[in-house]
Symmetry: C2
Subunit: 238 residues, 2 copies
DNA sequence: CTTACTCAAAAAGTCAGACTTTTACAGCAC
DNA sequence: GTGCTGTAAAAGTCTGACTTTTTGAGTAAG
């Protein structure tokens, strides 16, 4: 499935990166470039390039005479899409999913409000189309088709906000939504209330009603959080 | 000022990276590793490692027989701290600052709400201390001291939220606040209303009042946005 | 016993050159 | 015009030698 002939560099990175984010080498562990090169059966050049990339992600720090030390989790570049992917594929996927969903719940309402102000006619049309698509596929186990429209909807909102930082969270949202469908609750049809909310958000954006778009999106986000609380309860109560 | 002997790799990266984010090589431009190596007077190994890092930031894409092509802005990893730093140092600093401030205004209120629920006793104490420090240095052109407390305050809130993604925005907020003091309005004392709001946020968090902490932080954020509208007006009205 | 200095080794960092692999493109045949 | 084929350009990979920084052991002085 995953591309095989993507070059040595990419292959080693996709092997070592997830291992580190999964905690196979706990923070403070020391690796040596030469040893790694041997282990992965690649030349030192390739391994050096891999280490440099991991270093740029703040997963490791390379120091002379010491080696390549794994950094503590708090220092990782957790917004790096690659790191996000690695962690979502790993064991602490639930915790990761929670962090990202909370982030999403903070960002999307504000993005929707901005979208109501800034969306172009084309974006409004796209939004309506997505919402209609969601309605059309919301019943009868057409989950894959529904997912496509759902992802597209949220992407358009984030793009239409006109904020670059928001727009770049489109992939994260896509990952979350896809995860929900594929891992968690793929047996039942989407919540009709959520579908309706999407339609109403599209309306609000079209009418330029920022406050309503924000409030409605906040409801969608709260729904996502509630869903998460059921599937993967938070750490604990106070 | 900036470290000089940080290794060739870092020096070339810090030269080429900002050049790209500044638009010196417009998207679609094609560079050749060999040519770059000559231009920067380093070996191909070093330049290859630099290119690999830029590639992991999605600033460029390297393809055989073609070369290293600069990617369009929308594909850059705009959350990479390094990229953020480069862009903030460049010409479109104002636009960048706006994007980040909007992001901040979306995230911090939610983070404060979570902090009210999750903050430890130590974090509450730290928060109060920061707020008091802000009060103490809020008058008499003690802007540098004030800044330290301000940054610390927002860092503690983001950390105390217990959300990893929020916590990692501490550096971004620090950058924004520092930028405000150093570039924009360093002539007058901070807004007394803002200082009071910080004190009240600390209170709310201490008392575990999530809604109030969120609302108060939203006021702080709105203040920051208003300030931004004055200093660097948004694109245009509808 | 502690402190300060020296020095050797370990590991990353750098360089140079040869070779391999992919692939865009030109030129040719149909 | 369409399709094939071959060539060259550029990245990708490997190897080995050399340099630089840095740690920590050993040693001498207090």
């Amino acid at each position: 499935m995953t591309a095989q002939a993507r070059g040595l560099h990419a292959r080693v990175l996709d092997s070592l990166g997830p291992a580190i984010t999964a905690g196979a080498y706990p923070p403070g562990s020391v690796l040596r470039t030469d040893e790694l090169a041997q282990r992965f059966e690649v030349s030192r050049s390739v391994m050096r390039e891999v280490v440099r990339v991991l270093e740029s992600m703040h997963l490791v720090a390379s120091r002379r005479r010491v080696g390549v030390t794994v950094r503590p989790t708090e220092e990782w570049n957790v917004y790096d899409p690659q790191v996000i992917r690695w962690r979502l594929a790993g064991a602490d996927r639930p915790r990761q999913l929670r962090s990202l969903t909370v982030l999403r719940s903070a960002v999307e309402p504000v993005a929707a409000g901005l979208a109501a102000r800034n969306a172009t006619a084309e974006q409004c049309a796209a939004l309506t189309e997505c919402a209609l698509g969601m309605v059309a596929t919301s019943r009868g186990r057409r989950l894959e088709e529904y997912l496509v429209h759902d992802i597209a909807f949220h992407r358009v909102v984030l793009d239409a906000s006109g904020n670059e930082m928001f727009a770049r969270l489109g992939d994260v949202v896509a990952e979350i939504l896809a995860g929900r469908t594929h891992h968690d609750v793929m047996f039942e049809d989407p919540d009709p209330a959520a579908v309706t909310l999407h339609v109403r958000v599209a309306e609000a954006v079209r009418e330029g009603d920022a406050d309503r778009a924000e409030a409605l999106t906040r409801e969608i986000a709260e729904g996502a959080l509630r869903e998460l609380d059921i599937l993967a309860p938070p750490p604990s109560a106070r």
